[in-house]
Symmetry: D2
Subunit: 378 residues, 4 copies
């Protein structure tokens, strides 16, 4: 028998993302969930103790744990690295990518690309020369309904595009939490650490990318008004822009991290001469499509083949809920103190009793229906 | 340095879930995403060729690929199995679980537990004797907001519970697709294969479990009306029940696989004397809580620590979108035909150009704002 | 010139609905808004002082103010009455209607029709003999989108109806407010005053009517479970029913006045073999229509001619907002203390200044756009 | 007995608003619904035949029907006019208002105030001299939840205002319907008839008024980009503005009549340092209020006394539905061909049979519940 479709997992390294880092953990979860990568090496910190501790927790063997990313890049062939995830602070993205690209290692890099232009041309040249893949993790562009929207527009479903409107609103910086010791807020509001991009750099770039990505239109010029209404911040935390696109379309972008009531409210509306699309990140599985005849249609992920890996109506958080059950099981197994028959009463996790109860439910239902809709005890 | 918190991954086997099976793939993705398990062995089919093919695709070494689950159970110590996922057809759940439990292997079993009562008492006895964990995958009970709802009720936030109302509606069986060759519909509508449970067994059990799980109330008796409005089905595809709970609360349950416009519309409303909760599976990250003062509050996952692993406002499909980027990267790496600088124009995946464009966007925005809100070319 | 289409207003009397009565005021507002009726006579109370006071406030001349509805009925010809609105307590509906029908006066009667069967056959006979119109105000059946839904079903848009599900939930009786002196709660929860119908009589009848009205199906039998979870009420305040329809369709009805978080949550879902409709009273201008192809369409009032008297997108509360401006104007006129130029700053009502500001806004906008998108002072 | 609170209706005249005019009919309905005005005179057209025909249809006596508004203004004392509604084409608003204000008649004027500045100063002077009320019908400012929002902000519920964002989107001009004979589109897109304001004048003014009205902030300057993407229009049909407010707040406004999928989508978001409010005209009965603690609360009209004239949960379209029943009754009465007992089967209007059916429903429900939840025939 011929094996068809078999593909060995790619060997992945990671630079950055040690203990306590948020986005590194997300990258690892995403790599695992994809089923395409094995994380085999890491440079999780420049502090040797922290690097080793993180590696151990993540399950990386000590021999593949590095404290200098340059050493790790040099060992790329020895490790057998196919790709590296770059999840360092922003100013290191380009040098780290450069070091691995030089070795022919493909790069998956968190956004934004960089805070300055230093080294970008050289990186571009190296990518070409070594024929190395470089993927920037613009996560929002990977939602199935965003890709569907993009394809619909490419295929002409909206006709000529007339306007593109995008908002990305959060409220976590609505008070001066940087003065109260919030680390995430501290570096973002300090231009010496997070750059002078402020909210524009942090989330505006996501919104801008999405606007061009979905609409397929190139923004030719913009006019911006920035604001910093909270405390005495040295960077913007709110910005509004007018946009002009190459094809004559107009648009606007509003990004804000100080708008109360908004958590991660990234919304997009693209209007063409034949139709319009709207999408909101907090309900990512649906797309509303309007036409010139007054019809508005709710499209849901999964109605068409290839739109995500779960059936329609199953939000993709379904995977996470399912994974939680596996985590629950692992936790029980590791504690080994479960009295299996008591779990329904005491705990949050379904066991055999829950299964028995479900069977009784089916029996009771069918009995009630068959006997003329009478009450049946459970 | 002392390593703290390190936990080796648990070694997982799987029975069932070969090529083309839906729920097996979901179990594997969930196990990977959890970060707690390594899938090391499998019995994916009783057909040797299909078993080997599936194992290869999944990345299981040939020596840990079995065609008879009893052989695999016997090898449990040799494989070093900590746990097994049982994702076979329902009638095999109990014998498979029994075989592994006998060997002291913990069991994660897809629902429903079984179609008949055969072997359940023996299984229960074995679980106790071998002190083996048994987890039934009632996925919906693992959503963070469902667990939060359950805890709120346990802690008395709603006061005495007065009513529990649950619906689970789908529409995929609204036409006789079993006559058109749909395999999933065929076995579910054939009592000799899927049991006589019909929609009650397939999805009603989920709804019933959720009703008891969240409300903390024990259903004492039910009265049911089943229906089979589509074609000449031998099992129910729609059922409505009245419920009475031990504490005097009343309730109802409606499950249907023939209600047009519903994809996976599992909704729950629990009303107490001090408050009420409502939740819908298609927007699982939110919970609406009403009190006696006319106030309705929207609670979102992540507002409190421990509610899922992502910040509030990030639907958990965020992981899946992120994983898609990793899949994209793997696909590019494997094809190796990317011209890295052209991806923004041609493809769906952000590369270096996208990063450069984001940096230009930040620059243009700050320049426009600093120069008095003028147009800046991109 | 020939006048075409002229129709004199119909002369309307009212029985009941004096000072402090809620539904009488709604009937009068509806009669005024319709443009088809002039209220010319009334019997607003059996207490002469209250009757006169109410008549004066409503603007009824003293000679057409009655304290005994039988006198008013006897004067029907003298008054020139075309129709009478019956908004008395329920037990008087039938005798009042009878008295006026005997005189050939058309009857518009609040629901429910009656608490007992006394006099109904006689009323029916009189209506036929005198050829008198009798309209029961099932308000919810008059929403444009409900009538559209009904017509769509009549015309076969859903195919054969399979199920009808209706809920009518409120929360105003969720605590024992009758013990705290709430008059509306007192009579409704006292079977000697409001009948033994409880929530079933008060709101269940609306839900039941809507279910039959829209679906076009005749309910043949029902099975009910009633509850009274609050305090020691002698009538039901919550009820759930299973329904069987003449064509074989099944359904359910839940009415409750004790479900926290629900104000006036009347919702309907009708599912047929070719499509399904859903509607919610709190967003009455829209109808969601699903088909067998997975398409869900949002239909809005006013997309088709004849669906209400306002353009689509204008909720019908638009009339009420507009009427509020007229009330504001009347209030200003009657107080005559407005300094017209100061209203924008001080008050809630737009005056000349607001108009001037709007003109400046247009000027500033066009100037900014024409001069290359520069800042223009307002 | 002393009559308390009696107020005679105010005598109202109308200029403009003859047959076929939309907004005149809305003004008349609003005046009727308010209960504060009697329409007693009108100048509905400068064409004598059309004026007379309109007056007759509206129910105005021939002696109070005018063809020249100046004649009507001169007769103001004779007619006993308290107020006049000005619903003419925009260019006549100011001269008509001037003529009546000179006579001491209060003015209710449709928006926008005017197309040019001619006569406005004189009108202002006259209003002051004659102490005449002038009300501009900015309808959206009269929704109860808008007034509540305004009051909340005045009272400091949001703290210092940081940003104001308003959108008013429609789609009825998304195609060149003016070339297909649509009258409303024709004059609006012809600068010689509708002025050069385009969408900015037609709907932008409403949005701008609402932004200042609710936020209580004075817009100091704006920067605008207008567009005319459809056909070869001589006026804008889409415009975006950046706004700066006197207190330092920033904001933006987008108005468009070419955005597919939007009917009358006027939305407002005001964000302060302590809270934020959002409102949408198509669901006018609710207001979402966020605070700095991550709590979002849904406020509904009617929860507090004085918020509109209907209980919470009753959208104000309830009045219109009720009025429809009165129109139905009038139509039946005028046709006089109803067979009263057959209406349930044949027609859309509830009659005696519907009332009887409701009583049977109550009986059946109580019987079923009392007899142990058995099926009862209807």
């Amino acid at each position: 028998m011929e094996l068809q479709g078999y593909q060995r997992p790619l060997r992945l390294g990671m630079v950055g993302g040690g203990q306590g880092a948020f986005i590194g953990a997300v990258h690892r979860a995403a790599a695992r969930l994809s089923g395409d990568f094995d994380l085999v090496a890491g440079c999780f910190s420049s502090n040797p103790d922290r690097a080793r501790q993180s590696a151990a927790l993540i399950g990386i063997a000590p021999e593949w744990c590095y404290v200098d990313y340059r050493d790790m890049a040099r060992d790329a062939v020895k490790i057998g690295l196919d790709a590296v995830s770059v999840v360092t602070p922003n100013f290191l993205h380009v040098p780290v990518a450069q070091a691995f690209a030089e070795q022919g290692v493909h790069v998956i890099c968190d956004k934004p690309l960089a805070a300055t232009w230093d080294g970008i041309d050289a990186l571009q040249a190296t990518l070409r020369r070594r024929n190395v893949v470089f993927v920037l993790t613009h996560t929002y562009s990977a939602y199935p309904m965003i890709r569907k929207a993009r394809r619909m527009i490419v295929e002409g479903a909206l006709g000529r595009i007339r306007s593109v409107t995008v908002e990305y609103l959060q409220d976590w910086l609505a008070t001066s939490i940087e003065d109260a010791g919030n680390k995430q807020a501290e570096w973002r509001t300090d231009p010496s650490k997070g750059g002078r991009g402020g909210a524009v750099g942090d989330i505006g770039t996501h919104a801008f990318h999405l606007a061009e990505y979905v609409s397929g239109q190139h923004c030719e010029s913009l006019l911006a008004m920035t604001a910093s209404p909270v405390g005495n911040r040295a960077v913007n935390d709110d910005a509004r822009m007018l946009l002009k696109f190459a094809n004559g379309a107009t648009g606007s972008l509003w990004c804000s991290q100080v708008t109360l009531g908004a958590r991660n409210a990234l919304t997009l509306r693209v209007c063409g001469e034949k139709g319009a699309l709207s999408w909101a990140q907090e309900t990512p599985n649906q797309l509303v499509v309007a036409d010139t005849g007054g019809c508005e249609r709710l499209m849901r992920r999964g109605e068409q083949p290839g739109e995500g890996s779960l059936p329609t109506g199953h939000p993709e958080g379904f995977y996470e809920a399912f994974a939680q059950l596996y985590r629950d099981a692992a936790s029980l197994i590791r504690s080994e103190d479960l009295t299996p028959s008591s779990e329904t009463e005491a705990g949050e996790i379904s066991g055999l009793d829950a299964g028995v109860r479900g069977m009784r439910f089916i029996d009771a239902t069918l009995t009630s229906a068959e006997k003329g809709n009478i009450w049946v005890e459970m």
